[in-house]
Symmetry: C2
Subunit: 129 residues, 2 copies
């Protein structure tokens, strides 16, 4: 993985790679993906989206700055890779690593609970099968 971002500064909302809250696998995983947006980006990646503009177009309307920050965090955590597909202007594609792809069961469990308990939700297709 070519990391373009080396700034290890932790956000309060974010992962604490070096400073885990505990040895609990739930807590440690939530340090990486436990927020309102990260798993939505992972959902989109699982659905085959790969470009910045694709993520922006999802119906939740993720703000640009949050998307940028989440992609950076996911890359630092080794969950996505970034590759440049255009030089002028510089544009990047994002893909899940095998480790990132294994977040699918979490996304699936979250979706399943929502479908069962929140009547206003509708199924996503591919990742839920």
């Amino acid at each position: 993985m070519a990391t373009r971002h080396s700034d290890p500064t932790e956000k309060t909302t974010g992962r604490a790679r070096g400073g885990r809250r505990s040895a609990c696998p739930v807590a440690c995983t939530l340090d990486l993906v436990g927020d309102r947006w990260t798993l939505l980006v992972v959902r989109d990646l699982l659905l085959g989206k790969s470009r910045f503009g694709d993520f922006l177009q999802s119906s939740e309307g993720i703000p640009t700055n949050i998307l940028t920050e989440r992609l950076k965090r996911l890359e630092e955590a080794g969950l996505i890779t970034t590759s440049q597909y255009s030089e002028h202007p510089p544009r990047y594609e994002y893909h899940l690593t095998p480790e990132g792809r294994e977040l699918a069961p979490i996304v699936r469990a979250v979706a399943k609970w929502g479908l069962a308990h929140l009547p206003e939700t509708r199924a996503l297709q591919p990742i839920l099968d």
Copy 2:
């Protein structure tokens, strides 16, 4: 980007019960439990903890004000019930509702990913079986 939010006042940490971000079951569920702390409280409830002080003692050190707010949100969402077990001083017990108990597969999937990919984590016992 077309922002579809009609209610831009949503909390950065919080659910937007009346103003869902989309009809996606992942997004709607994350509106309820998608933060660094809520699923840890659910984990503790699944492990049999029921009192405020029990949650505070978990090794992540949840701050009192965050715990209070998360318990309130979980109750409003119908995921826990609250009952008073002492009048002087007033003290309460918290238990998962059937709907809340069905969050277990999410907690389990999160834990499983952590155990597989974060070497410094250790298994929880009962809820993972």
